[in-house]
């Protein structure tokens, strides 16, 4: 297990290293001169030259990369071009707010999704099972941004219960904070729950046909003990993988949801950076997201290996 963990950790580091080169070179070929963009199109040649000198843009590309990557390793993400502020705290704050959104959502997705999946799995073919299946089909097919808009129409426009945009910190009162976060979280959860519940349902159905379930029933155990103590543990192994995939989808969804609800997280910051062509912010932002994504995948793989010993030994070498 330790060897496996170390090997996976090395892969993550390698991916991040190569990604940093890729991100750096992609932003290098971005059209338009960076210095020109900073000073604006009416600046004189001297001003452009001064900025080029200050940012050392005339150095060879690999030196610029090494300087940037060196800064990253020391925890210095550079300065935002448009706002001329250090990126570290800016991205840190944004991540903290996005993490609240993501954390709440993934916990709710796991709890609700697994519950729905188990519920409909053990009631296979009944009316409530079919109702949940059709419902989840529907939820998978509706894009997040459309849910978001429908939710705003209903809860802000029609009922007037919740604010449509913005953010309040905990200091401004719990209810104030909650009011702003309910709609974004609900939107994020809506699509992903269907994912988890569908997978849990099919794996639950498969598990319930296993012989040890029959054996447990034959022992005379009550059905809910059979489900909780015997079936659930094994049925949930594939769910862990799908939850990891969902973390990736969630990060995409967060970009959309934060934009719709003007929630000041990392997603909105990135959209802002791309609209403003704020190169350092784009680079740092994408790299940070990649890192978070890689680490969450790592966590999922480790959990999976922990629950499923076959992976620990056999397959990891073949991958």
């Amino acid at each position: 297990m330790i060897a496996y963990t170390l090997r996976r950790l090395l892969t993550v580091i390698a991916i991040l290293a190569v990604m940093s080169v890729a991100i750096f070179s992609i932003t290098q070929i971005l059209p338009g001169d960076v210095a020109q963009m900073i000073v604006g199109q009416f600046a004189t040649d001297e001003q452009v030259k001064a900025v080029r000198g200050r940012l050392r843009l005339d150095d060879p590309a690999h030196e610029q990369y090494l300087r940037w990557a060196g800064g990253l390793l020391r925890g210095d993400l550079g300065n935002s071009m448009m706002m001329d502020r250090p990126l570290g705290p800016m991205i840190g704050d944004a991540i903290a707010r996005s993490a609240v959104l993501a954390g709440l959502s993934i916990v709710l997705v796991a709890v609700i999704g697994i519950w729905l999946g188990v519920y409909s799995g053990v009631r296979r073919g009944t009316r409530s099972d079919r109702f949940i299946s059709v419902g989840s089909y529907f939820f998978i097919s509706v894009p997040e941004f459309f849910w978001a808009i429908l939710a705003v129409m209903l809860f802000t426009g029609y009922l007037g219960w919740l604010p449509s945009t913005g953010y309040a910190s905990m200091d401004e009162g719990f209810w104030n904070w909650a009011r702003h976060i309910i709609l974004p979280v609900a939107t994020l959860v809506s699509g992903l729950v269907a994912h988890v519940s569908r997978l849990t349902r099919s794996s639950m159905i498969e598990t319930m046909q296993a012989q040890y379930i029959t054996a447990a029933r034959a022992k005379g155990l009550p059905e809910n003990v059979v489900i909780r103590r015997h079936a659930l543990r094994n049925a949930l192994v594939p769910t862990i993988t799908v939850l990891a995939i969902d973390v990736g989808l969630l990060m995409g969804g967060i970009v959309v949801v934060e934009t719709v609800f003007s929630y000041p997280g990392l997603g909105r910051l990135l959209i802002f950076a791309i609209e403003q062509k704020d190169l350092p912010l784009i680079q740092a932002g994408i790299l940070v997201v990649t890192a978070v994504y890689a680490l969450s995948n790592l966590a999922a793989d480790l959990l999976y290996a922990f629950f499923n010993p076959r992976i620990r030994y056999g397959r990891s070498a073949a991958r």
Binding site: T11, I15, V18, M19, A22, I23, I26, I29, L30, P31, Y137, F138, I140, S141, V142, P143, E144, F145, F146, I149, L150, V152, M153, G157, H195, R198, L199, S202, P238, T241, V242, I245, G248, L249, M251, G252, G253, V255, V256, T259, V260, L270, I271, I274, E275, K277, I282, I286, V289, T290, Y293, A294
Partner: protein, 286 residues
């Protein structure tokens, strides 16, 4: 053995058409018809503004109302069908054109080829899909083709991995070994022996990809980095209608519903195809 395999294939596909395929297919035919003939039957040009008729609720002249520039929503939807389908099919096409050969090469050649292709793919999927799209599109001035291409690139890894897995299985079959023993060339083996037998799961996955591509494309356009105004892409229409949802909700709801119906239809077709082409195939989506 190859002939036997081929003779076997049609009998498997001649099974009853699943109802999901029929229903989804019927809806999809409507969407395709709208994409083909929409501009001809649309009551107005998609970009014709009428300042006197801004944000009108649905009425006899404008069946689905008008938007904030007085443009006819129904007409814009009909024009938009073409963009959405282009996006879905174009992106899937790109992912197949690049992904399938890569998967074939990785699965059949193995060794260092396999290793380098798979590592490159790991890299592409190390960025969440929407962000990859944003990153790619931020490099250019986006339009519908570039958006489709960007979405296609995001899905190349999925196609490549699937093709590789299928190829690995088929490459061990006797008819492939026979072809190698006959001394057939590499291209012949890949194109004539392996590919025809690898298609069913690839087609099923492609149908799924069309849905995801339509949704991802719409999301990118919604974020302002896909199809640009004044085009009437459905995602873009929703984004443009957002400031007016209190006064003119139909402008946002109409494209949203059409988008959902299209996605559901393609999903149904995908499920139906899966059921028909390969009853054993039971995969999670993602």
């Amino acid at each position: 053995m190859a002939a036997l395999q081929l003779a076997d294939a049609p009998s498997r596909t001649r099974t009853r058409i699943p109802s999901s395929l029929a229903v989804g297919g019927a809806i999809l035919v409507l969407v395709v018809l709208a994409a083909l003939f929409g501009p001809m039957v649309a009551p107005f040009p998609y970009d014709q503004m009428d300042i006197m008729a801004r944000m009108q609720p649905p009425n006899a002249t404008h069946w689905l109302g008008t938007d904030e520039f007085g443009r006819d929503v129904l007409s814009r939807l009909l024009y938009g069908a073409r963009l959405s389908l282009l996006m879905g099919i174009g992106a899937t096409f790109v992912s197949i054109v690049f992904g399938v050969p890569l998967g074939l090469a990785a699965g059949y050649k193995g060794g260092r080829v396999d290793e380098s292709i798979m590592r490159a793919i790991d890299l592409v999927i190390s960025v969440p899909p929407i962000l990859m799209g944003l990153l790619l599109l931020s490099l250019t001035t986006p339009n519908v083709w570039k958006t489709a291409a960007a979405v296609g690139i995001i899905y190349v890894p999925i196609m490549a991995r699937l093709t590789r897995a299928v190829t690995l299985e088929i490459a061990r079959e006797e008819f492939v070994l026979a072809a190698r023993a006959r001394g057939e060339r590499l291209w012949y083996i890949l194109a004539a022996e392996i590919l025809p037998n690898a298609w069913p799961p690839i087609i099923v996955e492609a149908a799924l990809r069309v849905t995801f591509a339509i949704m991802l494309g719409a999301a990118l356009s919604f974020l302002g980095l896909g199809v640009q105004p004044p085009s009437s892409d459905w995602g873009l229409m929703i984004a443009e209608a957002r400031p007016f949802i209190d006064t003119a909700p139909w402008v946002a709801i109409a494209p949203g519903i059409v988008l959902c119906i299209t996605v559901i239809a393609v999903n149904l077709v995908g499920d139906g195809l899966r059921e028909m082409l390969d009853p054993r195939l039971k995969r999670g989506r993602g």
